[in-house]
């Protein structure tokens, strides 16, 4: 653990006001450091867990080319995870412990990745929906973050996430050319759309980490980012005549979800229990905290290699 003396909140905010980027832990205040660790951990965990989650579906690729593209996306995601964990390590975090010794329940990625992608169609929709969410969130960080090393590192991430979501869009257009493809897309969209709407977190009036905007970790609030995501995801689904429970409301000048939301989700059946009506965000938080069906398996896939290597060394000793 680092023993660097941190700056006062006043000094840090003064630096931000002068539009000087925060370059290292030496420039950070306690609140900035803790907040940055929190947002970077979510980002790193999300990129990391997308690798086993996507691999689970990539094995259903219908051609060698398709398999190659999926594996290339997975490699990109691991690169993005590497960037975020490297930044965390420079902030004094023991990332080896964080990645390889943390309980699966304590990983901080979006709940959607705990639901298995069981087919090529679901992987394609994940590229179009989930990578779009990643692109929306990290594009915002890229533009607005006050942490210089992260801002610069995101040039790579931004470029590659664009490729992933285009892969999803083109894949969806291709699958949509016949009825069977259209129906399987609709089935995937039915459970994946709302999970991605949820991805952006609690609505602004319930959110607790106010420093994310004040300290310039990101530029837009959760609800604004949700709108940005819907502003391209909904038109894509409309173009493909896929039904989604959201539309642009001319009076409110924003996208609105027109089904019970937030709602209970049957993770095993991949089915929203909309007939039960909306639930409270507290119920959603409980579901997120309990994690979903693939949490242990996916984290286990990531942690297995290091455990095996340590066991080997143990035998040699």
């Amino acid at each position: 653990m680092t023993t660097t003396a941190l700056q006062s909140e006043e000094a840090l905010l003064g630096r931000i006001r002068k539009q000087q980027l925060i370059e290292s832990i030496d420039h950070m205040s306690p609140i900035y450091l803790e907040g940055m660790k929190r947002i970077l951990t979510v980002s790193a965990d999300t990129e990391l867990i997308s690798a086993p989650a996507y691999y689970h579906a990539a094995v259903h690729a219908p051609s060698l080319n398709a398999f190659g593209s999926a594996i290339s996306i997975i490699q990109d995601e691991l690169g993005h995870a590497h960037i975020a964990y490297r930044l965390l390590r420079d902030l004094g975090v023991d990332t080896e412990k964080l990645i390889f010794e943390r309980e699966p329940l304590n990983f901080k990625y979006p709940y959607a990745f705990d639901i298995p992608l069981d087919s090529w169609v679901e992987l394609i929709v994940a590229n179009a929906f989930y990578d779009r969410a990643g692109y929306t969130l990290l594009g915002d960080v890229h533009q607005s973050t006050t942490f210089g090393p992260w801002k610069r590192a995101l040039v790579k991430v931004d470029k590659e996430e664009t490729f992933h979501l285009r892969h999803g869009e083109q894949g969806m257009r291709k699958l949509n050319q016949d009825n069977v493809g259209h129906e399987s897309l609709q089935k995937a969209v039915d459970w994946m759309f709302l999970l991605t709407v949820e991805w952006f977190g609690l609505p602004d009036d319930l959110k607790k980490h106010g420093e994310q905007l004040e300290y310039g970790f990101k530029g837009h609030s959760n609800d604004e980012l949700r709108q940005i995501w819907m502003s391209t995801a909904v038109p894509l689904c409309n173009e493909l005549q896929l039904n989604v429970p959201a539309y642009y409301d001319e009076t409110q000048k924003k996208y609105v979800v027109d089904c019970p939301f937030p709602a209970h989700f049957d993770a095993k059946a991949k089915h929203w229990l909309l007939e039960d009506g909306p639930c409270a965000w507290d119920d959603v938080m409980k579901r997120w905290k309990a994690r979903g069906p693939m949490n242990e398996e996916f984290v286990g896939m990531v942690q297995r290699g290091k455990r095996e290597m340590l066991r080997l060394l143990e035998q040699e000793a």
Partner: protein, 76 residues
């Protein structure tokens, strides 16, 4: 030496500790600029990591520099 110390030493041995800054450029007319960093204890592995992680462009040049060799002249 206790078993716990042994285990922790072995764990440490698996963790790479040297940071290498990665610089690259896409065009001959542009200067090298920092694109990220990697961790590796030896230079050959550092080269492999830099190539495989920072593959977002077709670079015309890429170099790596150990962080501990960098001398700051003007601090930001």
């Amino acid at each position: 030496m206790t078993t716990a110390t042994n285990a922790s030493k072995r764990r440490e041995a698996l963790n790479e500790t040297r940071v290498w800054h990665v610089y690259a450029r896409r065009k001959y007319e542009e200067p090298l600029h920092e694109i990220g960093n990697v961790m590796a204890d030896d230079v050959e592995l550092a080269k492999v990591y830099a190539r495989s992680i920072y593959d977002e462009f077709s670079w015309v040049e890429m170099v790596i520099i150990p962080r501990d060799c960098i001398v700051t002249v003007i601090e930001s």
